[in-house]
């Protein structure tokens, strides 16, 4: 609520859809370029770097993709400040090189993965709806690969039932950390079967380029059927655990943010309705919210027999 007049987005910054699509087409045709090359260049520059990826995207929504300028200036990333415009303003000096992700806990082969290694996986584009718990939504073309592929490498043991994600915590570079709105570092979690689901994307890029810092660079998770806060950003640790992990928003307000937090129009947030959403940058909240954010066909079976109102 600081009295700034919102992040100014000049119309020249908005990529016209035709140009955006043709750029993707161009990059699709440039697939021959080695992924390793993309990986090394992705980390050697601060300006957006194009990625190579395939487009066997599942599932593509019919919705219009949100303009990049909006998706990169309106972010909830409290480590950089609680206002939506703070992350774009404050994430510039966030260093993402070098970066490693430590994978441990109930696994046969714990390991520390360098970010370069992640860029060597086969990357694909997934156009997902993003539904925030605050009742707004966007449609974003993410680039990444199924988390299951990475988890398979570390061989979860029979005791592993949940996956816990831990976000980077660098007080020098993340001004929001000095303000204890949440328990830092930010943590999130999924059931193992949710984490292994093919829709759960370990994400390295968006809009054909590596992730901007404010969107969770260099690596984040995207779980499209859950409210946005479940998709942890700038991940440094992945632990496979036996018991349901403590997670940041759930610990802060358990009655408002459940561990499951599946998108569900029938279960209101205590302070607002989740029936409808505002598809940004629209004015009217006239978009009907769908159960599991419209991904019910793929994920509903994960929750058969579970009372979604009780385990919200």
């Amino acid at each position: 609520m600081t009295y700034t007049f919102g992040p100014k987005i000049s119309s020249s910054e908005i990529t016209p859809r035709e140009i955006y699509l043709s750029r993707r087409h161009f990059m699709g045709s440039a697939l021959a370029t080695g992924a390793a090359l993309a990986a090394s260049s992705a980390l050697s520059a601060t300006s957006p770097v194009a990625l190579s990826f395939s487009q066997n995207a599942i599932p593509k929504p019919s919705d219009t993709v949100t303009d990049r300028a909006l998706a990169t200036t309106y972010n909830n990333f409290y480590e950089f400040g609680t206002s939506k415009s703070d992350p774009a303003r404050n994430a510039g000096k966030f260093t993402i090189k070098p970066w490693t992700v430590e994978i441990g806990g109930e696994v046969a082969k714990p390991k520390i993965v360098g970010i370069e290694e992640l860029f060597k996986f086969d990357l694909e584009e997934r156009i997902y709806r993003l539904r925030c718990v605050e009742a707004w939504s966007m449609v974003i073309p993410w680039i990444g690969f199924p988390l299951s592929k990475l988890l398979a490498q570390v061989e979860p043991t029979s005791k592993a039932r949940y996956v816990k994600f831990t976000t980077a915590s660098k007080p020098d570079e993340m001004p929001g950390l000095s303000y204890r709105v949440l328990d830092w570092p930010y943590t999130e979690g999924l059931r193992l079967d949710e984490a292994m689901h093919p829709l759960t994307l370990l994400t390295l890029g968006m809009y054909g380029e590596v992730l901007p810092n404010q969107n969770g660079a260099p690596v984040r998770i995207v779980v499209p059927w859950k409210y946005g806060f479940k998709s942890a950003k700038s991940i440094v640790r992945i632990d496979l655990v036996t018991d349901e992990p403590k997670t940041a928003w759930n610990s802060a307000a358990p009655n408002e943010y459940g561990f499951n937090s599946n998108v569900n129009p029938a279960v209101d947030h205590p302070r607002w309705s989740q029936k409808r959403e505002r598809r940004l940058p629209g004015f009217f909240a006239n978009h009907d919210t769908e159960l599991f954010n419209g991904y019910g066909e793929q994920v509903a079976s994960l929750y058969s027999g579970i009372d979604l109102a009780k385990f919200y």
Partner: protein, 241 residues
């Protein structure tokens, strides 16, 4: 006057009389003296300052909604809400400022400031009703019943209506100064409800509602102090402040 000379005498007389009236009006008290007084300068400044946010918002809606960021409707809701609280706090600051500085003309700002808070609360309410509830009154009624923070805000809005309606001199005379003053004490409740509304709606970061709440607390304590300091027999007389 050459042209005037060609006109019939009756019309010449009319023009001259009006000309003289105009001259005397501009040189007499109201026209020249007003801008020279402090209140005559400050009041238009406050007027422009408080009108500006709504003008900027209107400009953005019409020409460039992205001036307001990726979520223009939310930005409008928040900006109009902020200005309700700012103008309420300014309204409540008038009396303490007047007492401390002995600048009695400050009272001439109070109605305007109060009406600005009503102006912004109306815009705030319309933004909510339109963009969030799609002008569906029954939907809005259900939401108000279910959500305490909206109920509190709506209550504050309802309480502001009688104050706005009775803000004219005519109404002061009609219901009597004492009744009027008692009625307008509602502003304390309204300001508290406004802060509570803000406090309950934020997700996690209570910095701004806390800060504005502290400003309100200071203003209310000021009043209590002024009230207690005044001799008991004067209290009735000062109740209008």
């Amino acid at each position: 006057m050459v042209m005037v000379n060609r006109l019939p005498h009756s019309i010449q007389a009319l023009i001259l009389r009006n000309f003289i009236d105009l001259m005397s009006a501009t040189t007499s008290s109201s026209f020249f003296k007003l801008p020279l007084s402090l209140i005559g300068v400050i009041k238009p400044l406050f007027f422009c300052f408080l009108l500006l946010p709504s003008l900027l918002i209107s400009y953005a809606i019409i020409f460039d909604p992205l001036m307001l960021g990726a979520n223009p409707a939310e930005a409008i809701l928040h900006h109009t809400g902020d200005w309700v609280i700012y103008s309420l706090l300014l309204t409540l600051a008038v009396t303490p400022v007047r007492r401390v500085t002995k600048w009695n003309d400050a009272i001439k700002l109070r109605r305007m400031l109060g009406l600005f808070s009503f102006y912004y609360v109306s815009l705030h309410f319309l933004t909510y009703l339109g963009f969030d509830r799609l002008f569906d009154l029954s939907d809005m009624a259900r939401e108000i019943a279910k959500r305490p923070f909206i109920l509190v805000g709506f209550l504050a809005f309802l309480l502001m209506i009688p104050l706005a309606v009775t803000s004219t001199r005519g109404w002061v005379l009609r219901i009597g100064g004492k009744t009027w003053a008692r009625l307008h004490k509602l502003i304390y409740a309204i300001a508290v409800l406004g802060i509570v509304h803000y406090w309950w709606l934020v997700k996690r970061d209570i910095f701004w509602p806390l800060l504005l709440g502290l400003v309100l607390a200071v203003l209310l304590v000021c009043r209590l102090f002024l009230f207690l300091r005044s001799a008991p027999r004067q209290r009735g007389a000062r109740a209008s402040s």
